[in-house]
Symmetry: C2
Subunit: 425 residues, 2 copies
């Protein structure tokens, strides 16, 4: 338990290995209306119920034609018209064109669409005629999407394990899915420890603070696609912790906050040890969040195993300082939660931004510091700058940030203007 600290990369790799193992166990499946599927994880592939598109489709308003005839600049007779929603017309006669709107079916025999903005009609060409004037030419396939170009009937268009957002909902709708099969959300037990903690609605006495971590972690769990189980606050006694762990065992993941430092009253590791835990790490060379713990406890002794009780269960011990709790949840708990959700997405998410001001630092820890990224309104490059903060208890700084600046373990200075990594929150 007092083993050497892992680097951030080592801890992240450990988490990734455990997430990969968790992904082998498929979660239960439930069916939800398409309008309620956002944020859930697709449990069955989306399959095309017909060719996509179901007919050769014009992408422009104009005239369907044979590209070879149009490119010869001959006047072509307008043989018919099709707007979106019309059934496909008959075969296009030779030396003819077919007036067509965006989204309408291209008649058989036509292989391209001249854009309405590019043609001559009426006066100069003759009544009922259309011509593509030189030097413009047209190639076969231009402004047409062939039937089945995006997928054939029966094709798997999207595999399971994808987080469902607007684009996935649109694809499902196009294939006729009014409901979707999604994985059941994993339940995450949240255990706030510490005798100094009082409920949000209470008036704290001298030396006490309100429980901000419980509500924060519940929001983080929900945002990551889990179902938070906010258990009552746990007193700093062995008996209280043992009882809390017994209660939390029904969840799919157990997250402690507080009680994991080196102090006399940091009772979480001993309690986990009493529950039979195997410890995978008990500290990481990061700031904030150094005392973070990853452990697994064996299944509770039950007569008839139910879902989530037949396998060892992951427990994350997060430091009690709120910024530490938030960062370590994103770095280490969220990837496990994604795996338990059946999701194949990359968690946590990093991006890059330009550093707005020099950052000096001491090597030895990978740092994840509350920061504000402009996210690049109105054409500027996204720029990131640190939020001034008073250490990992500073909730004001956390609430004023919208990402974390990543400072590599070996860095001593990050120069203004360099490209840096940010942890997206």
């Amino acid at each position: 338990m007092s083993s050497a600290l892992l680097s951030y990369e080592e801890a992240a790799q450990t988490i990734a290995d455990h997430a990969a193992a968790l992904r082998q166990m498929q979660p239960a499946v439930e069916r939800v209306p398409l309008a309620q599927a956002a944020g859930r994880v697709l449990a069955r592939p989306i399959v095309a119920d017909r060719d996509q598109p179901p007919f050769a489709r014009s992408t422009r308003d104009g005239f369907a034609c044979r590209a070879s005839e149009a490119s010869a600049h001959r006047p072509l007779a307008i043989a018919g018209a099709a707007k979106a929603g019309d059934a496909p017309g008959g075969r296009l006669p030779p030396d003819a064109a077919w007036e067509i709107m965006t989204g309408a079916p291209v008649p058989e025999g036509a292989d391209a669409v001249m854009m309405v903005e590019h043609v001559e009609t009426g006066g100069g060409v003759g009544p009922g005629m259309v011509r593509l004037p030189p030097p413009r030419r047209l190639v076969a396939g231009e402004n047409v999407v062939a039937r089945g170009a995006q997928g054939r009937s029966g094709d798997e268009l999207l595999g399971s394990g994808v987080r469902i957002q607007a684009g996935q909902i649109a694809l499902a709708a196009s294939c006729g899915y009014a409901q979707l099969d999604v994985f059941v959300r994993p339940r995450v037990a949240i255990l706030s420890t510490g005798d100094e903690i009082v409920p949000v609605e209470a008036e704290p006495g001298p030396g006490q603070i309100r429980n901000s971590n419980g509500a924060m972690l519940a929001a983080l769990v929900a945002a990551a696609g889990g179902e938070p189980l906010l258990l009552p606050q746990v007193a700093d006694t062995d008996a209280a912790l043992d009882a809390a762990i017994a209660q939390a065992r029904a969840a799919d993941l157990i997250v402690f906050t507080g009680g994991v430092s080196a102090g006399k009253f940091d009772l979480v590791e001993p309690a986990l040890a009493r529950a039979g835990a195997r410890f995978h790490f008990t500290g990481v060379r990061i700031q904030p969040g150094k005392p973070t713990v990853l452990a697994e406890i064996p299944p509770a002794p039950v007569s008839s195993p139910v879902r989530g009780q037949s396998a060892a269960k992951h427990c994350m011990g997060l430091p009690g300082n709120p910024v530490s709790s938030a960062v370590t949840f994103l770095l280490f708990a969220a990837p496990l939660l994604a795996a338990l959700s059946g999701s194949r997405e990359t968690v946590p998410r990093f991006a890059m931004a330009q550093l707005a001001g020099e950052v000096k630092t001491k090597p030895g820890l990978t740092r994840f510091l509350p920061a504000v990224c402009s996210f690049g309104a109105k054409g500027e490059l996204p720029r990131v700058s640190l939020v001034s903060w008073q250490g990992s208890g500073d909730l004001t700084a956390l609430a004023r940030s919208n990402c974390y600046l990543v400072v590599p373990e070996t860095a001593t200075v990050l120069e203004t203007g360099t490209s840096v990594r940010i942890l997206l929150s």
Copy 2:
């Protein structure tokens, strides 16, 4: 209506100007439980109900002391102990230290905390004594957060207009807010036009497709903090459009999809004109999404004005192709929606990533192409690559993407490995 196309930057600036004007009108306010506040926009500042932290607080397990005495390496008498949750103790006697746990109040007179890992106790120092061995020294303030360092009682810790996520919930909880005042969600009417469109649960006939844009836009509106009003699909007739606009006028923002190209049956602009619209743009030099329309219609003639009916109302006409609809919603409708939500956040959000493969392009349009970003798992830089796609109708490509690669209007090639902008979705 057939005015010159705007550049992307010009259109984004026009949208930003309108968003700034909308921000002058404060939305209505409602009160929600803290646990349901995620995703909402803070309507009143969060004010500290006491100093933050409420007492000088140790950030380490160790011994509170006077830095000057500790740095003289004298043995100090252990005068007491404090764990988190204890009321602040009495005044620290001279040449003494106070055993202290992380989060506990530092006794009056102490100005620093020696870390437990750094001190000698017991045998070599004497019973009940503690010493900081040379050459280590301590400075005043070390491992202590002073009372009020993060904010004084009555301070505004966070202003209104902030989107509430986990960090903001934690700050509110720490200040005793069991409920939060948030802005009422803006209602967004979604009007899908086009005779080729059938409902998701219907079997499309020849030439027909299912309405994927309605469900997609409802999900985009909800993700952007609005309340979607998914109105019945609108037929391609003037009368149907006029009736739909009359119905949609009760919403705070009206979003059309389809019917904005140059075709014979693109009836949205004429219908808006009949409703008295002022057009701010009717086309943007982007791909996909060129025919996007921004307009404002005057208030409906009502005897007693109600909320949302007393001011001109913004209407966005989005192209009917699904990828076009998704991109133009993010670029242009989402910033208006953020402003109507009372939010001060930057919308849309861009970040940077490394381009995984060369992209060749033709100048003249700013492109927003469906792409996959690795978001940088396990220490690599975030890398982005294009999803293969068959044009702006390709829902499969959209569903397989997790961002959009931004290709500047003047670019002819983007080299592998360069830092590029991505539009976060």
